[in-house]
Amino acid sequence: MASGNDRAVRPGIQRHRFIGLLAVVSAATLAVAGCNSGSGGQTTNTNPDDGTQLTMWVRSATDEFSKRLVDAYNASHQNKVNLTVIPNDNYLTKVGTAAGSRSLPDILASDVVYTPNYTKQGLFQDISAEIKALPYSSSVAKSHLDVASYQGKTFAVPHKLDSSVLFYNKNLFKQANLDPEKPPKNFAEILDYARKITALGNGITGFDIAGSCGGCGVYTLFPYAWAAGVKPLSDDGKKADFNNDTFKQIFGLYKQLTDEKLVDSSDKTQDGSTWPNNFLAGKVGMLPLGSPIVGALNDQKIFEWGVTALMAPDGSKTSTFIGGDVAGISVNSTHKAQAWDFLKWTLEETQQVEIISKNGDLPGRTDLSGNKYTGADPRTKFIADGLKNGVTPFALPFGDLFNNPNGPWVETIRGAIYGPDLNKALADGQEKIQKGLDQAG
């Protein structure tokens, strides 16, 4: 406590002292701030885990998957990710309107087939440098990085990886006197096995088709064609090729399965939302779908499940649709470093193994495909190994042409399988889809 004398005698110097102190403090603050700001990416004294609130949108297809990651991140970090799950059908609309009003969340997940459109419209921030700086950048799933790249820059990383395969019910195989360790290798065997399994009766069918689902068709029919050496979509997404013998064989098989009643009558109006249900209830012999249902297959106790790859009609080769979602940082996010912290964390080994693979999903890194969970079950290892034969198709108006329930692809599928003239349906479909690709430019 200064004595009254001091205060009275030297007010001027007190003021100077105060101003001097203020100046020193300001200078120090500015200096520290100057250190923190500056060139992006290489700052070492800002911790991105600084308690920021981040928003993240995902599709309902990755509901549980994303939730597991977000919950684990929030429990172990100061940053908090606020996850919003949006129904698949509404996702395009919701993202579109948010993009229009520039109110996208910090982290935006996107189905791989919609991503080319999003990167072209500039919805994501460029994270090429961040990805390149990862020590394991060469083993991050290339198909997903390719789909998220535009004009040499990469805008998103793999969030969820999935692969389409042909599942089958080993119990039903045994009951139908088929070898449960010998899944069908070609279309002739699919038809033969389906007949034998349907003959078991009791509402059991040999196969299961999603007759009114465009996304399901792309997911499970394109691999038949890729395995046969046919490209329904060219690599640059500008040319369609559906009016060929391979697709005639593919739809011919499905038409025959339907006509011989080897599939349930509800398949005709199946829009994909309840597609795996009959198989999971043990009522279907073979179901083409994908790795997303592996978790549910492991949980059910009704039957033992087997898996094989989707094959060319003559069985010479196999292929798969590498689908799933990527996740990027949206263009109107002001928390790029924090959002990248989350994305980087999801790609690290612990998370890929202990959270993703442990629950039956595929790791997004090829160097981890033999991990202790995926590798432990020969079936999941089979699926992970199959990724090397996989393709992720690319086209700008993908959603509008292929996923749209009123679009040309659904029309083609239904016309070919349920209509009177398969060849005409394919010819018309080819024309309409090509027209759609041409218009999108």
């Binding site: 395009l92 579109g96 005709k268 749209n404």
Partner: protein, 315 residues
């Protein structure tokens, strides 16, 4: 509905009023007070209707891919409509749907009104029962029906098979005709209650003396219906027709949720086509043009209806 009233405002005038006379608001003040009362509604109407309408009209003259910005392109969106098969097909389907729905709704409503208008026991219960589906939202009702019509786990099929009316699943939304029938059934189930209540009120407002006088004169049931009931119901019928036609022309929820416009695009209405154009194809300009066309069509249809229905009343 907003009713505008003017009130007498006391102690408002500067000159002292002579004793014995009521205070009155000077004539020059009344319009301003009136405007103040209308102002909140006017602001809402302008902000939530006129402004978006203006934006919509502007949109219809641009090429706007939703994810990017708008670029004006003149009348191209409107000329595109002439070649848009899905939109033209939707117009025809919506008109057919409107005609069928309006007729069926009226027919069933008359039958139901006959049931609930009687002093029978339980008519009160039936009134409530018939009206109940109306309070469920259309999208929620369509979701319910989507589950109900499913081949395997839908209750309609299970009941029909249990009773023995059908052998296997009916496939309610499998073919264009069946889907159309299912939609009509859904719409009737949902909206009939409202039609019935309005008709009931209209019916009960016809004075009973007219019927008594007619009975004394020896009129038959048919003559009573033709000369008393129908003319008495004319304003009610006019109201219901306008509501039903407008609602049917704008139908969307049930087609979006239950049939997704299928099977094979056979149940695509104008609003569904518009929605697809905006949010599936991401072509806002074209969708806006379709919306403007729909708006003009509705104005014309409603004006026509009101003109026809009003004219007969004054004869």
């Amino acid at each position: 509905m907003v009713s505008v009233t003017t009130t007498r405002v006391e102690a408002d005038t500067s000159a002292p009023a002579p004793a014995g006379r009521k205070f009155r608001v000077p004539a020059t003040r009344r319009p301003r007070n009136g405007m103040l009362f209308v102002a909140p509604t006017a602001v809402i109407v302008v902000a939530l209707f006129l402004v978006p309408l203006a934006i919509l009209v502007y949109m219809s003259f641009t090429d706007w891919p939703l994810l990017a910005g708008p670029t004006p392109n003149g009348l191209k969106n409107y000329t595109d409509l002439l070649e848009d098969d899905q939109f033209l097909g939707a117009i025809i389907f919506t008109i057919i749907y409107t005609i069928v729905t309006t007729i069926v709704l009226f027919a069933v409503a008359f039958v139901l009104v006959a049931i609930v208008n009687s002093p029978r026991r339980g008519s009160r219960f039936y009134r409530t029962a018939f009206f109940l589906p109306y309070v469920v939202g259309t999208a929620a009702a369509s979701s319910m029906w989507w589950v109900d019509v499913h081949d395997r786990f839908g209750i309609f099929n299970q009941v029909l098979q249990a009773v023995g009316l059908t052998d296997g699943p009916v496939g309610f939304i499998e073919t264009p005709n069946k889907a159309f029938f299912t939609i009509i059934a859904l719409v009737v189930w949902k909206f009939i209650g409202f039609q019935m209540i309005v008709l009931l009120v209209g019916l009960q407002s016809i004075p009973a003396q007219l019927y008594e006088a007619a009975l004394v004169d020896g009129a038959t049931t048919w003559q009573r219906l033709r000369y008393i009931t129908i003319p008495g119901l004319r304003p009610t019928l006019a109201l219901l027709t306008v509501l039903s036609v407008t609602g049917s022309l704008l139908a969307f929820d049930q087609f979006f949720v239950l049939t997704h416009g299928g099977p094979d695009n056979s149940t695509v209405t104008v609003v569904l086509a518009l929605y697809n154009k905006a949010f599936q194809s991401f072509r806002l300009g074209n969708a806006a043009a379709e919306a403007v066309v729909l708006l003009i069509a509705l104005i014309v249809v409603n004006a026509l209806q009101l003109f026809l229905l009003r004219r007969r009343e004054t004869r």
